[in-house]
Amino acid sequence: MNQSQEWAPQAIQAEVDALKDKPGALLPILHALQDRIGFIPEAAVPIIADALHQTRAEVHGVISFYHHFRTTPPGRHVVQICRAEACQSVGARQLEVHAKARLGVDYHQTTADREITLEAVYCLGNCACGPSIRVDNSIRGRVTPEAFDELMDELQTRPLEVMG
C-alpha cells in the first residue's frame, strides 16, 4: 500500500483523465485511486464528479455503496478475515475473536501503531482450506490462531532504520 502523499489534486486529475472516457468509468477510476493512494480522498470527489458530469452526491453514493472503497487511510497492511460459512465450519469465528484480541481492534479499525487495518470479508474462494485470510493481495489458508500470531509478528516487525 503506497503511503506517500501522492494525492495532490493534479495527481488525482491525471488518474481520472486517463480513465474517464471508458464506458462506465467510475469504478475503474475509484480502483485506480485507491490502488495508488490507499483510499479515496475527499478531494477526489469533486474532481471525479466534474470529469464524469455527475453530481458529488452520485459519486459519494457509489463510494459508500461498495465495501471495498475506503475514505480514510488504512494501516500499512490490510488484513481481511473471511467470515463466511465454509470458514465458519472450520473455526473462523474463533479466529476472528482471537484476531481482534491480538490486535486490540475491531473490524474497520487500525492498530495504534498504524501497521494493520482489520476488515471482514465474505469469501476469498479458498473454501476447502479455511479459515482463510487475506493480507494485502496475498491469501493464506488453514490459518490457526497460532499461525495468525506468527504472521502478525512478521508484519508488525520492521528492521530498524539506521540513521545516517
Binding site: G24, A25, L27, H31, E85, L124, G125, N126, I139
Partner: protein, 518 residues
C-alpha cells in the same frame, strides 16, 4: 536433459506456501547439480493435497502432496526427480489418484495439466478448437448447438443458455455485449476462480464464441475484487490472446471482431445478481433493476446483453468442439452435462469434483470428501451458497439435479457443498444468514433491507429465550414476507437457510446462545 517439475500457482496452492516450495526446489536442485525446469501450472483441484508437486517422467506425471517447504529436502533425497514413490508424500501417477480418476472432467479437462498462460499448452490440449469451429458457422447454427447441448446457467438459476443467446441474437441493436458474471460470492464455491486462474483461455474462448453467436463485439468479465490473482492472470491472458489473434478486430483472419476487458467489482455480494452487476458495470451503485425488461433485450447501457456465469461460458468451447451430443450425453433428466461440485468447509478431502448430474450428496461427501476434517460426525450441509438450504442427513441421498433439489426447497446453486460437523449451532447459522443479508442487501426493497435487520433481532431474542415461542412464530412470518415480497433472490432466498434450520434442527432454537440446553 532438464526435468520438468510442476508447482501450482492457483490461490489455494499459494495460500499454503507454493511459492516458497518453488524457490526451494530450484535452489536445492541447483545445489545438487540437477537441472530442473519449473512449470507453474494450475491446480488439479485436489485442494486437500495442495501444494501438489508433480514431476514429469517417461511414463507420465507423478504427484507428491501435500508438500510443505520443509519437505523439499527429503523429497529430493528420496528421488523426487525420478518419480520415486518411496517418500511418504508420494501419490504415484497423478492421473491414477482415485479422487481424480473417478471424475468426469469436461470443462476442467485441462486444469492443473497446463501452464495457464501458455497459449501453446492450451492449443496442444484442444484449446481454441471450439472457436475455430464457430468461425466456420452461422450465428444461428452456433445458438442451435448450445441449445441442443441442454446447457443451463451454472450461476444457480439454471436458465437454458441457448434460449438466452437466441433472445439476444433476435434483438436488433447497434451494439450488443457479452458479460461474464465472475462475481463468485457464494461461500463454498471456487470453481469459477479455478477456471479463471487455471485455464483462462477457456473463458476467453467461450466468450468469443458467444460474441460470434449473438453478434456482440465487446465483452466484459465482471470479476470480484476478492480475486486479485485471477485479475492478474486474466489480464495477461487477454493481452496474449490479442497478440495471437484470438481477440481483437480480426479474429484469426476472419474479419470478425471481439474485444474483452476485465472489470473489478468492489466487495458487494449483490453484484452477483445480474441486473445489479450491470448497474455496477455502468459505474453506478449496485442496485437491483426491475425485470422486465430482461438484460437480453435491454442490458448493459440499454443494449441486448448476454449475462452468463463463468462456468456456462467455459462449457461452450467443449460443446462447439465436440458437439452438443457429447455434452448432453452426460447428466440426468433436464439437467444435462456435468456439474462442477466444490467440496468445502469441514471436509477431510476438499476440492473440485466435476461429475455428471445425478450423483448423491452422500457419495460426494463420503467417497470423495472422506467425511469431516475434524473427524466428528457430519451434521448439516449447505449446498448452493448462503442463500440455499441446510440439508440434514435425511436429504443426503437425493441425486444432485436441479429439479430434484427444487422439489424439496433446496438448491444446487453454483455447486458449492459446505459441510459442518456436530459442533455447529444451527440457530447461530440462521442468525448469520440474516446478518449476511443485512450487510449485503442493496437496500432497494423493504423486505430485504429491513427484514434482514429484524431477522437478526428476532433470532437474538429466540436465542436469549425472550418470549421464545411468540418470536419463533414471528420469524416464520418474517421469512414468508421476505420470500414473497423481495425484489430479487437476495431477500427472496435468505430465508431458505433460516427456514431449513428451523425445520430440520429445531432443538438448536430451544437452547441458549451459549450452548446450554434450557
Amino acid at each position: 536433459m532438464s526435468i520438468r517439475v510442476f508447482v501450482p500457482r492457483d490461490t489455494t496452492a499459494l495460500s499454503l506456501g507454493a511459492d516458497v516450495i518453488a524457490s526451494r526446489l530450484i535452489r536445492e536442485a541447483t545445489a545438487r547439480g540437477q537441472s530442473i525446469t519449473l512449470v507453474r501450472n494450475g491446480s488439479r483441484g485436489l485442494a486437500w493435497l495442495e501444494p501438489l508437486v508433480e514431476v514429469e517422467t517417461p511414463i507420465g506425471r507423478f504427484a507428491y502432496g501435500p508438500v510443505t517447504p520443509g519437505d523439499v529436502t527429503t523429497l529430493l533425497d528420496s528421488g523426487l526427480l525420478e518419480g520415486s514413490v518411496s517418500h511418504p508424500l508420494a501419490l504415484g501417477p497423478t492421473e491414477e489418484i482415485d479422487y481424480l480418476a473417478r471424475q468426469q472432467r469436461l470443462t476442467f479437462a485441462r486444469i492443473g495439466i497446463t501452464d495457464p498462460l501458455s497459449i501453446d499448452d492450451y492449443r496442444a490440449h484442444s484449446g481454441f478448437c471450439g472457436l475455430e469451429a464457430a468461425l466456420q458457422r452461422e450465428p444461428q447454427d452456433i445458438v442451435e448447438e448450445v441449445k441442443a447441448s441442454g446447457l443451463r446457467g451454472r450461476g444457480g438459476a439454471a436458465f437454458p443458455t441457448g434460449i438466452k443467446w437466441q433472445t439476444v441474437l433476435d434483438t436488433p441493436a447497434d451494439q450488443k455485449y457479452i458479460v461474464c458474471n465472475a462475481d463468485e460470492g457464494d461461500s463454498g464455491t471456487f470453481a469459477d476462480r479455478m477456471a479463471m486462474e487455471c485455464d483462462p483461455y477457456m473463458l476467453i474462448e467461450g466468450m468469443t464464441i458467444a460474441g460470434l453467436a449473438v453478434g456482440a463485439t465487446q465483452g466484459y468479465i465482471y470479476l470480484r475484487s476478492e480475486y486479485p490473482l485471477a485479475k492478474e492472470i486474466l489480464d495477461e491472458a487477454i493481452r496474449r490472446a490479442e497478440t495471437a489473434g484470438y481477440l481483437g478486430d480480426d479474429l484469426r483472419g476472419s474479419g470478425r471482431t471481439f474485444h474483452l476487458e476485465v472489470r473489478l467489482g468492489a466487495g458487494a455480494y449483490i453484484c452477483g445478481e445480474e441486473t445489479s452487476l450491470l448497474e455496477s458495470l455502468e459505474g453506478k451503485r449496485g442496485l437491483v433493476r426491475f425485470k422486465p425488461p430482461l438484460p437480453a433485450i435491454e442490458g448493459l447501457f440499454g443494449r441486448p446483453t448476454v449475462v452468463n456465469n463463468v462456468l456456462s461460458l467455459a462449457a461452450v468451447p467443449f460443446i462447439l468442439a465436440e458437439g452438443a451430443e457429447a455434452y448432453a450425453n452426460h447428466g440426468m433428466g433436464r439437467s444435462r452435462g456435468t456439474l462442477a461440485l466444490q467440496l468445502a468447509g469441514n471436509v477431510k478431502r476438499g476440492g473440485l469434483v466435476e461429475l455428471a448430474f445425478g450423483t448423491t450428496l452422500r457419495t460426494l461427501m463420503e467417497e470423495f470428501g472422506g467425511g469431516t476434517l475434524t473427524g466428528k460426525p457430519l451434521r448439516a450441509v449447505q449446498v448452493g451458497g448462503p442463500l440455499c438450504a441446510y440439508l440434514p442427513e435425511s436429504q443426503w441421498d437425493m441425486p444432485l439435479d436441479y429439479e430434484t433439489f427444487a422439489e424439496v426447497g433446496a438448491g444446487v446453486g453454483h455447486g458449492g457443498v459446505v459441510m459442518f460437523d456436530d459442533s455447529v449451532d444451527m440457530a447461530e447459522q440462521a442468525r448469520f444468514s440474516m446478518e449476511f443479508c443485512k450487510v449485503e442487501s442493496c437496500g432497494k426493497c423493504t423486505p430485504c433491507r429491513i427484514g434482514s435487520t429484524r431477522g437478526v433481532e428476532v433470532i437474538d431474542r429466540i436465542r436469549a429465550n425472550d418470549n421464545r415461542e411468540a418470536n419463533l412464530t414471528l420469524l416464520h412470518d418474517l421469512c414468508e414476507t421476505m420470500v414473497d415480497g423481495s425484489l430479487c433472490a437476495m431477500g427472496g432466498m435468505t430465508p431458505f437457510p433460516v427456514q431449513s434450520a428451523l425445520k430440520h434442527f429445531p432443538d438448536d432454537f430451544q437452547r441458549a446462545a451459549n450452548g446450554d440446553r434450557s
